[in-house]
Amino acid sequence: MERIILHCDLNNFYASVECLHHPEYRNVPLAVGGDVEKRHGIILAKNQLAKKYEIKTGEALWQALQKCPDLLIVKPNFSLYLRFSRLVKTIYQDYTDQIESFGIDECWLDVTHTLHLFKMTPKELADTIRQRIKEEVGITASIGVSFNKVFAKLGSDYRKPDATTVITRENMEQIVYPLPVSDLLYVGRATKEKLYTLGIRTIGDCARFDVQILKRRLGKWGEYLWRFASGEDTSPVLVRGYEPQVKSIGNSTTAPKDLKNLDDVRIIAYILAESVAARLKEAHLMAFTIAIGVRDVELKGFTRQIKMDEATQLSDTIAEAALDLFAKHVDFELPLRSIGIKASDLIVERNLEQINLFEDPFLKQKKMNLEVTIEKIRERYGFQAVQRCLMLQDTLLSGFNPKQDHVIFPESYFKG
């Protein structure tokens, strides 16, 4: 049976919510942007008027202001956006239980088995949902309707704002095939260049290409991309509430000032390690592998990782492993702009453990007790209640709490 999948994309989500709440903003070019002082100074979303000035999501605030000096930039209010996201999802729930979110403002809905209840065509259902979002929540959505998730997503991008696009097997060659191949999920700059060298510029080119050659050139991703392009994507829309198994726990941050040496990195690394360790403990997990990610002031970056003999959830161990990696692989030729620490190869924590002959097992237990106690104190009295002496060396660098500050995490398409 052919599936019927909707992809709903809330148009200019953050900016739309701001404009709804502030009628006076509606007739001015507006963008929601990060905090300039803390250097999270990029455009997160913009309204239709700002779009006319060719302001793009992700560009620096100063670039946007050059294009449009009158641009009104408001700070993001994430708890408000989460409320709107929730309101919209309650509307989706009237139509199916297969609702998979992709970020805060996008969702896939599988209505294959529920459509008959509403006595509507797929397009009519999509239009009804759009109308309800507009009336009940006050923002607009564009919806793509198709027989797989990838085409549904392309459909919601095809016409916006406030429109429905239906992509069927009959019209896919007219609608999907002429689109640039970079519109496909997971085709970033690097993949795009590889595809260009094969002469693949549009999605149609990719679909008509020999899948075996693609596989040879791009590995397993070659086959995925070919499947995406030719409408053969069979990945299911997950049932609401499905929590994928955690594969890694990590935190990263853009520092309020450039990191010029290992001492600067150390301060941030300890904060990140403490956050990762606390989240590991909360999830009752231990990690074998610690990875670092860095990005310099020219926005170039890389990751390095190390596998340890024993799994850990101690912030000290994580920080030390990460700092070893930093010392080994970062030369500080260019100062760093952002760094991250990630713990992976996770196992469920157990009470039994192989003791290392050359280490004092009681010391480890003591450290563990100390960390758990500190985390309890922080939970009660705030993050700053207890901190390492190191943090006082540079309070500008140490003045953030990654565990609490991040409310919206990026998502992956492959959750199985």
Binding site: L20, H21, H22, P23, E135, G138
Partner: protein, 78 residues
Amino acid sequence: MKTYVDVIILNSKEGKIKPLAILWHNGIKYSIDKISQITRAASTISGGTGIRYTCTIQGQSRYLYHEEDRWFIEKKEY
């Protein structure tokens, strides 16, 4: 502009909420004579979204919104 107002509500034993009167800024209490519709809706005029009560107050129809834990009246469209 969006103006929040004080509202006297009846919280029934079934858990339902019904607004009975609005306490306006000048201190006058306006009783709600009739509620003709209750629906979730956005107010593009005042800027907000919530449960909308279509109320009849002194013979005139007004939209009263319950937004999270506060109430606002949609100003009249001119």
